[in-house]
């Protein structure tokens, strides 16, 4: 059935519908991910988004349910050019999978033209519909996307991911399972809490370190989390990933800004400033840190994106706080960024050692 992807500015991209036939609206995001459709569709960061995948022959590699990043699918729609009707590992085909998830999709779209349009005009709202008359376009223009994205994806109740190592409290802003996978691999004894948990509630869990996870939307929509960081960062090692990193910056009087060209690509080069080492990592962020503010703050820039110079990682000069904007847990993308978790654990242990040394003297 012929359907239409209609952008907020009235541009129409025709295609053929598949998956659910409902009308859907969301923030349109262009994803240059090479692989990992499974991860993207189930990534809580994509809550409220319509994702346009720009790779050709989507789904040839099959659908692997072990790759899920949350229990349910999260995005509001998918847009593709060509898809594969069969899979190399005889798993379910891409279109059948999307149908099963009850997500609306549109294929045969000129995703290249779409991607070019967005790179010239910026990210915007979009809708997948059956018609493309003026009424439909007006509807999209009038629609306000809800600002409570984090609330919708964050866990309501705390839950543990038990192990024998360091106690890590993860503030769930839209946590990807792969962060837990990385922590489990490092024997961390994690507890995952709601995004609105207070500093006191978190401290009562006696964490060795605290992670503010990645998540969807604008960090300014969740001011409570900023306050929580301001209290906790003085006493505990803190790692911010993606949205978590933006919150850390805001908690320390730095500003953030929207990227002219958003980073949604599973393999972009990031350089470690100290050593010059280049790593390829997954990026999925539309905001970045304002260079001016970071420059005059107590943060040092630890990582930058090689292609456009965007700040990708920071570290506090004397408090044990670190943050990265990219996704060190990969999923999808190269595994070069896993070391960030090792660094955080080193940071925790170094703090512990210093405390131990102090205790001996006191």
């Amino acid at each position: 059935m012929k359907r239409y992807l209609i952008l907020e500015d009235g541009t129409v991209f025709p295609g053929e519908g598949f998956g659910s036939s409902i009308i859907t609206t969301g923030q349109l995001v262009i994803s240059n991910n090479r692989t990992g459709i499974e991860q993207s569709v189930t990534d809580p960061n994509t809550e409220g988004q319509i994702i346009a995948f720009t790779i050709p022959s989507v789904g040839s590699s099959g659908i692997n349910r072990d790759f899920y990043e949350s229990i349910n699918s999260q995005c509001k729609g998918v847009v593709i050019g060509s898809s594969s009707l069969s899979t190399v590992d005889s798993s379910v085909s891409f279109e059948d999978w999307i149908t099963g998830l009850k997500i609306p999709g549109i294929k045969g779209v000129d995703v290249r033209a779409l991607s070019k349009h967005i790179s010239e005009h910026g990210e915007m709202k979009a809708s997948i519909m059956d018609t493309h008359d003026e009424h439909a376009i007006d509807q999209i223009k009038a629609l306000v996307l809800p600002p409570d994205l984090v609330k919708r994806v964050s866990t309501r109740q705390s839950y543990p991911n038990p192990n024998m190592g360091l106690k890590i409290v993860i503030v769930d802003l839209g946590l990807k399972y792969s962060i837990l996978r990385q922590l489990s691999y490092r024997d961390c004894n994690s507890i995952i809490v709601n995004y609105n948990s207070t500093a006191e509630e978190i401290e009562n869990l006696h964490p060795d370190g605290i992670i503010f996870s990645n998540g969807p939307g604008d960090p300014q929509d969740i001011p409570n989390a900023i306050k929580t960081i301001q209290i906790l960062q003085k006493k505990h090692p803190v790692l911010g990933i993606g949205l978590g990193n933006l919150l850390i910056a805001l908690a320390n009087d730095c500003k953030i800004e929207k990227l002219k060209e958003p980073h949604h690509e599973s393999s972009l080069a990031v350089k470690e400033v100290a050593s010059g080492k280049i790593d390829f990592v997954n990026h999925n962020h539309s905001y970045t840190l304002d260079q001016k503010y970071i420059g005059s703050s107590d943060f040092i820039v630890t990582n930058i994106c090689v292609a456009d110079g965007t700040i990708e990682g920071i570290r506090h000069e004397y408090l044990p706080i670190m943050g990265v904007l990219f996704e060190p847990e990969a999923a999808p993308g190269p595994t070069d960024g896993y070391y960030v978790f090792d660094e955080f654990i080193d940071l925790i242990e170094s703090v512990k050692k210093q405390e131990g040394a102090r205790d001996q003297w006191n």
Binding site: A274, S275, I300, T302, R315, E317, Y318, Y339, E343
Partner: protein
């Protein structure tokens, strides 16, 4: 047979972490001076220096300290301090915070000799110690402030540090 226990990437990361810790524990790194103990300690010093420069855009002076001018044939682990005579330093360390760097911390005797040499060259405000590897078996009350990696060893084992500048590649082996 030599067994690689630390590869190039891990060594790179350890040096980066030491650098972060140096920044973290020294509010203002203006009065820092790096003094590397020859041979590989000097490379450690230079690598930390280049990281500090990249991160903070500050150039820290680096000096070389040769405490075994006559004993180049001996491996580092076997250093005997009885004959040690230090060459003069080429930078001013008076009232500076000196970070002494070496590749392996073992008995502590090398470090003691290095400190003697430093004290005879001036009066530093403070001396800290950064090492790539701490392998235990101290014979003197010396402790490193910054450690890349703690590696438990028996006294029979040898630790061999290779660095790109001189050995062509970065790695640490145990044999």
């Amino acid at each position: 047979m030599a067994k690689e226990i630390i590869d190039g990437q891990t060594m790179t990361r350890a040096l980066t972490r030491i650098t972060y810790e140096i920044i973290e524990r020294n509010k203002g790194i203006d009065d820092l001076v790096l003094v590397g103990i020859k041979t590989r300690g000097v490379f450690v010093a230079h690598r930390i220096e280049s990281r500090l420069k990249q991160l903070e855009n500050i150039k820290i002076p680096v000096a070389e300290l040769d405490i075994t001018p006559y004993r180049d044939d001996k491996t580092h682990d076997e250093k005997d301090i009885t004959n040690i005579k230090a060459e003069p330093l080429n930078i001013d360390i008076n009232n500076k915070h000196v970070i002494l760097t070496d590749d392996v911390l073992y008995t502590g005797r090398t470090i003691r000799a290095a400190m003697d040499a430093l004290m005879s060259a001036g009066r530093p405000k403070k001396i800290s110690l950064a090492v790539l590897v701490d392998r235990g078996h101290r014979e003197l009350p010396i402790r490193a402030d910054f450690v890349g990696k703690n590696i438990p060893t028996s006294q029979k084992e040898k630790i061999k540090v290779s660095m790109k500048e001189i050995d062509g590649e970065d790695k640490i082996e145990i044999e």
